[in-house]
């Protein structure tokens, strides 16, 4: 058995990388990728938790998360494609039309 502490640290590192990528990267596709990374980090933690407690709840939830991730990526990519088609850019610093 891998100690839960190691999994926590790996999951945390993955999450932080994802978060950093979300906050720093300018390309929408890379932001989506970072979000994927964060979700995978959460998945990892869920499965580790399930292994720790010996119950299946975590793994079931992990399945849910995977499905949601898939759906979200679909929609997100569709939006990104449409965005590129209409405005010819995927740079978040240029997508400011909802500015207050």
């Amino acid at each position: 058995m891998i100690p839960i502490g190691h999994v926590l640290i790996v999951s945390g590192i993955l999450f932080s990388i994802g978060l950093a990528g979300l906050l720093i990267r300018r390309n929408i596709l890379l932001i989506l990728l970072s979000i994927e990374l964060m979700m995978n980090a959460a998945n990892l933690l869920l499965i580790a938790g399930s292994a720790l407690h010996g119950e299946a709840d975590g793994q079931i939830t992990a399945f849910f998360v995977m499905v949601i991730a898939a759906v979200e990526v679909t929609v997100g990519l569709a939006v990104a494609v449409l965005l590129f088609r209409t405005r010819q850019t995927v740079d978040t610093y240029d997508i400011k039309w909802l500015k207050g």
Binding site: L22, L23, T92, Y93, K96, K99, G100
Partner: protein, 623 residues
């Protein structure tokens, strides 16, 4: 008897309402109805007199009222109070009123809106009778205001004329200043009585209670002054006298009824009615006496330079009212009321005959009233009655005016010497201006051709001359009327003093003589020299009262109003309301900078917020 008095009160009201709803387009019928109404009221008043005289007690007093606003602590009632004073006034108002209504039917016959005239005149009669019959302060105040309203409507009767409308407004507002004082006086009195547990508005009750408790003198002084302010407004005492001369814009019968015989007398009447209150405050009586005396002389001197016959008579009224107020201020209500009665007769007479002259000669300027044949020949009744009125006004025996003026002068002789001298001086002035008037109108013959159309001056019809004759009769005989049953409770006539009588007759005679000599040959007044502050200038400017008031309105009132308006527009609206809107906009602009539109900016806040929450949760979990 009580029913009779209610009938007297409500008959004019009913005629007014009936005319208003049905007869506005039928002026003749309106006139007839109104006159019949007044005559009916007069007959009722006579019946009331008969009943009253046949009562056995000496100087009885009757009262009856209905509750109008029943509330604790003190109900406001609506009632009638009948005593000698009331009956005297009722007779004067209805009697002279009927004569003037009759006269108006002829005087106003060419005016198509005289339906409205008679409605307003009946309304006035109702209001005046209300004051006379009233038994409590509130009712008096109500009818006081209504009389002011009727006066406003009648002065501004020919409202297309700008001067008439302005004069009406001036009258209403000036008397309203007085009313403010009166209301404050009433409230103070009631407030004090209520604080002692006996709050009431009823005259008889107050008189009775004042015998047991006494009001502290500063408060009483203030109450009396407040009430007197209202009286001064209605009876046109200085400094609230400025509306009366302007009120001559109204039709002449209105001037006769309202501004000579009745409404302006209401103040004097109220003073007599409330004398029990005023008598307890010698300080107030002093103020009243001086006001009366000063008004008398002020008006008498201004009358000397007036060229309009009605204005002269108006200032004369002011002057005589000053005498009445002076008498009351000196503590002799009998003298004051006596003069009120006789003055009602001869002043109404003077106004009505002046109206007859104006009607026939189409002018009000005394310099234009000369005729070739002399008015004595073309309009004998008018001229003779006018003379009789003048003699009464000047106080020549045996006219009624002589007796009443004597009693006032006798009262004055016991008072302050300055007031006495003022009163005597006014006798001279009165004769002087009346002499001037008579000389110019009656004693001169015009030789110039330009006065041609005046050759056809004819005597007026019976509706105008009968009232003149009746009033002339009373002006002569009125002095012999037994007024003691009516006024006995309120003082007595002074003992007759022969020297005083001779002095006053001499002064009167001198005044008339001087005027006659001076104006006998004059055909026009001198032009006023440009130098100002000559006595003539001051008089022509009526002692600058109107100018001071105008200046006050323009510089003080308009500016206070402007301050209010500016404060409203700049501070409250601009600063407060629009300012808060501007502030909100600026704040929102500040907050808007957070909405950069860049999605990562929002994500940063999101992440930071989550971190803080988790941190707080862990911290609170730890402790």
């Amino acid at each position: 008897m009580i029913t009779l008095s209610w009938a007297i009160l409500w008959t004019p009201f009913l005629t007014a309402v009936f005319i208003f709803f049905f007869l506005l387009s039928r002026p003749r019928a309106a006139g007839r109805l109104a006159t019949c109404g007044m005559l009916a009221a007069f007959l009722c008043a006579l019946a009331l007199l008969w009943d009253y005289l046949s009562l056995k007690e000496a100087r009885p007093v009757l009262e009856s009222s209905i509750l109008w606003i029943p509330f604790a602590p003190s109900p406001v009632e609506f009632g009638v109070l009948i005593d000698g004073l009331t009956i005297l006034m009722l007779l004067i108002v209805t009697g002279i009123g009927s004569l003037i209504f009759l006269y108006s039917m002829s005087y106003m016959e060419r005016d198509e809106s005289c339906g409205r005239y008679f409605a307003c005149l009946s309304l006035f009669a109702f209001s005046m009778l209300g004051i006379v019959l009233s038994n409590n302060f509130i009712q008096t105040f109500i009818f006081w205001e209504l009389v002011g309203l009727s006066s406003y409507l009648l002065i501004g009767f020919w409202f297309e004329k700008r001067e008439a409308a302005t004069a009406g407004k001036k009258a209403f507002l000036t008397t309203r200043v007085g009313d403010v004082g009166m209301m404050i006086g009433i409230l103070s009195l009631f407030g004090y009585l209520a604080s002692r547990g006996i709050g009431t508005f009823n005259f008889l009750l107050i008189e009775e209670r004042l015998q047991t408790i006494s009001i502290p003198s500063p408060l009483l002084y203030a109450v009396c002054l407040g009430l007197f302010l209202g009286i001064a407004g209605k009876s046109a005492q200085a400094p609230l006298h400025v509306w009366l001369p302007d009120a001559m814009e109204g039709p002449t019968p209105v001037s006769a009824l309202i501004h000579a015989a009745t409404m302006v007398a209401a103040g004097v009447f109220l003073l007599a009615r409330l004398f029990f209150l005023f008598a307890q405050s010698p300080a107030a009586l002093l103020v009243i006496a001086w006001t009366g005396g000063i008004t008398a002389v002020l008006a008498g001197t201004v009358a000397v330079v007036q060229n309009d016959i009605k204005k002269i008579l108006a200032y004369s009224t002011l002057s005589q009212l000053g005498y009445m107020v002076l008498a009351l201020g000196l503590g002799n209500p009998y003298a004051g009321m006596f003069h009120l009665t006789t003055h009602a007769f001869f002043k109404a007479l003077l106004f009505l005959s002046a109206g007859s002259l104006i009607h026939a000669l189409h002018t009000q300027n005394i310099w234009n009233m000369r005729t070739q044949k002399g008015l004595l020949r073309s309009m004998p009744i008018t001229s003779v009655t006018f003379f009789i009125g003048t003699l009464a006004l000047m106080g020549i025996p045996p006219t009624s005016g002589y007796f009443s003026k004597e009693s006032i002068l006798a009262a004055a002789s016991h008072g302050s010497p300055v007031l006495f001298i003022l009163a005597l001086a006014n006798v001279f002035f009165t004769s002087f201006y009346m002499g001037r008037l008579c000389t110019l109108v009656f004693f001169q013959k015009s030789h110039s051709a330009r006065q041609n159309h005046l050759h056809t001056a004819r005597e007026s019809g019976w509706k105008m001359t009968i009232p003149l004759i009746i009033l002339a009769g009373f002006s002569i005989g009125g002095g012999f009327l037994p007024l003691h049953p009516f006024l006995g409770a309120r003082g007595h006539s002074e003992p007759h003093s022969n020297t005083l009588a001779l002095i006053s007759i001499a002064l009167a005679g001198l005044g008339f003589l001087f005027a006659f000599l001076r104006y006998q040959k004059k055909s026009h007044e001198h032009e006023t020299l440009d130098s100002w502050m000559t006595p003539r200038f001051i008089l022509e400017k009526k002692y600058f009262f109107d100018d001071v008031y105008d200046a006050f309105i323009h510089f003080v009132q308009e500016n206070i109003a402007r301050v209010s308006d500016l404060f409203e527009r700049r501070v409250v609206v601009e600063g407060g309301m629009n300012g808060s809107a501007r502030l909100t906009r600026r704040l929102s602009r500040l907050v808007r900078t957070l909405q950069t539109g860049v999605v990562q900016f929002y994500a940063l806040f999101f992440a930071a917020g989550v971190t803080v929450i988790i941190y707080v949760l862990i911290l609170s979990g730890k402790s």
